[in-house]
Symmetry: C3
Subunit: 132 residues, 3 copies
């Protein structure tokens, strides 16, 4: 399975994986098209957000915990129902255009693995599609 592994260190954490995604795009040999970053887990997702001020990630965590509290009464026996909901709110993939071998991320954008039930060992799949 093409992609890379990461180890998350907290229950809820946004891990910057932009470097690994860009490396996978380069390795593919494709220069123009799109890169799909896919998370094959049900208690984690992936999102694109600001790469500069780390407080944006802290606020994202806070806002998602307010939306779907871990303590909310759920029926799922494993006690991580909130993580499943948060994963679906963020989504299991992002698609980033690629031109001249470069990801067309905005200057403030980074790709973040969104862990909602860590710490865990996780896999991220990267697929690169050519527009030509």
């Amino acid at each position: 399975m093409p992609g890379f592994e990461i180890q998350t260190r907290e229950r809820v954490v946004f891990v910057d994986v932009t470097t690994q995604v860009a490396a996978a795009a380069t390795e593919s040999g494709v220069t123009d098209g799109v890169v799909v970053v896919y998370v094959p887990h049900t208690t984690a997702g992936v999102t694109i957000n600001e790469n500069a001020d780390p407080s944006v990630r802290a606020d994202m965590k806070l806002a998602l915990e307010r939306l779907v509290p871990e303590s909310l009464m759920f029926t799922h026996a494993e006690g991580n129902a909130d993580a499943h909901v948060k994963a679906s709110l963020m989504g299991s993939s992002v698609t980033v255009p690629l031109a001249d071998g470069r990801l067309l991320l905005g200057i403030w954008q980074g790709v973040y693995f969104a862990e909602f039930d860590g710490p865990r060992r996780r896999h991220v799949v990267v697929s690169v599609l050519s527009a030509r």
Copy 2:
């Protein structure tokens, strides 16, 4: 329009369509690339989540109803404003990598049609793109 039809049976329900998506991928003849599952409706979406414990879907329903209550005061006259918002929160498409003719879904992942204003007859579009 390539894809398949489903009939939903409740106002809000997550319908497992993984089998139909996998079949559409096989029919395409593409073995390596991505499969895009697209919902051409404004009160339904699509998401990827756990395929084992049905309580995860029950909790997702509960959490989304808490986030966007059907009873909330909205201006949209048709009375299904909550369904439009929930559809945008889940998203109108998912993209799943395909390798060696197999969807790279994680072991616990399934593809779910997310109905927010059923019961209705719905269409799901499947596009398969080759990485080669």
Copy 3:
């Protein structure tokens, strides 16, 4: 960078960009595949929703403001933390199937640029991938 520019006129507004997206698809010469609409900003996103009744966009705004109030206590110094969270909830891209040179949008669907920290000048990237 392929795509188009828009000028948003309010802090939070959903701008219909369906015409520009369809034009970019036509210009690409691709007739069958998918169109990826990508937003390279961290306080804006993109979503697909109803194109008929404008009250749906008003309700979306209202529901998102209820979910992530601008006034919520956040740590991000720029005072637009809510915009970053709303952007991740909507997502930074949508993918729409294309067949016979036509976007397979449902009859009620339009593509909306989701501004959460305007008014601003914004760029939208459009990538078209062929299924053949």
